[in-house]
């Protein structure tokens, strides 16, 4: 899932400053799961904005709606039903959703309420962690299912650096050393010898480094 965090309130107010007619749109998928931009969060943000604006002379009108996913035009089209010439649309979706809204409503400014951060999973209640960077050439099979690209702070492929201590990464913040985890996992799987082989330089051209990527499935196009 994609994880993001709501922008600081002050920044959101800044993005909405000067607008009187606001449409706040949430997304019911990834950002809902990480308590950042679903229907509940839309309601809370709208309420906060009204409370903050209550003392002012001009009060902006804030409309709210949430769609299943903002990354698909089929769902984003539903926003048109509630769109009544608002001055600005603020999206609580991830960056992809914000851009889909912007494409769908090219005559209206579209601004983000969320900082999209990473691809990851829910490790335990309230804990979301990054574990995939979309490098385009998945080699998880060689590393016991632990990704050195996303989980090692230096994306090392041939073993840990000298800063690994007590199973933790030198960058601190309780970040686990991915290489400690890989070694532990491969030891458990009796596959530690996998690590003897030299891993040559990675082909980063399939990652974002090669330019923005796309997937076209001809077999699914009528």
């Amino acid at each position: 899932m994609i994880v993001g965090e709501r922008k600081p309130f002050g920044e959101i107010q800044g993005l909405l400053g000067g607008y009187n007619n606001i449409l706040l749109v949430g997304c019911g998928t990834c950002v809902k799961v990480c308590f950042t931009g679903g229907d509940k969060e839309v309601a809370v943000l709208a309420s906060q904005l009204r409370l903050a604006g209550a003392k002012g002379k001009k009060k902006a009108a804030i409309d709210e709606m949430t769609v299943e996913r903002q990354c698909e035009i089929e769902f984003v089209d539903e926003v048109a039903k509630k769109f009544k010439g608002h001055d600005v649309i603020m999206s609580m979706a991830c960056g992809a959703g914000v851009q889909m809204l912007a494409e769908r409503f090219p005559d209206t400014p579209v601004v983000p309420a969320v900082n999209t951060t990473f691809l990851g999973l829910l490790q335990k209640q309230g804990h979301f962690v990054e574990n995939c960077q979309g490098c385009g050439t998945c080699v998880l099979g060689a590393f016991g299912g632990i990704c050195p690209v996303s989980r090692c702070a230096k994306s090392l492929f041939n073993g840990p650096c000298g800063g690994s201590q007590g199973g933790k990464c030198e960058i601190g913040g309780d970040t686990p050393c991915a290489w400690q985890q890989i070694i532990d996992r491969l030891t458990k799987l009796k596959q530690l010898d996998n690590l003897k082989a030299h891993v040559p330089p990675k082909n980063w051209s399939t990652a974002r480094h090669g330019g923005p990527r796309k997937l076209i499935r001809e077999d699914n196009i009528l």
Partner: protein, 139 residues
């Protein structure tokens, strides 16, 4: 100076341990609106924010002591949600002290008088100027 408007969200189980059903709806005390909740575990930040939007100067949440919660783990949630809501209020420029949590030991609410006294006492000392007092608005 307007009278302070208080919205109190009270756990149903805490209320009716001591009171008769229907007593709340029959009573009326100036400035206090009672909202029954099935459990304090149901109280989400949005309900509290909405209460302020609707004009409450103070919002009081009455929740059962964790050890006596009738739904076992319901009231466990309220503490962190109150903290979160206080953050949200502060972001929006409101004094987080206007939101008060009171833990109740069933069956402590033995009469309406006790209930309303408790609510007033919980909000004593919090700023008196009502959020809806037009005389205090910036010119």
């Amino acid at each position: 100076m307007c009278a302070m408007k208080i919205t109190a969200l009270c756990c149903h189980n805490a209320l009716y341990a001591g009171l008769e059903p229907g007593e709340i709806s029959r009573a009326y005390v100036e400035g206090v609106q009672i909202i029954e909740t099935p459990c304090s575990g149901k109280v989400d930040p949005i309900y509290l924010l909405k209460a302020f939007e609707k004009g409450a100067d103070c919002v009081v949440v009455l929740a059962c002591d964790q050890r006596l919660c009738a739904t076992i783990e319901g009231s466990k949630r309220i503490h962190k949600r109150i903290e979160r809501t206080k953050q949200l209020l502060a972001e929006a420029g409101l004094d987080p002290e206007r939101l008060v949590l009171r833990i109740v030991r069933r069956p402590a609410l033995t009469s309406l008088d006790v209930l309303f006294k408790g609510i007033k006492e919980a909000t004593k000392g919090i700023l008196d100027n009502s959020l809806n007092d037009t005389s205090s608005m910036p010119q």
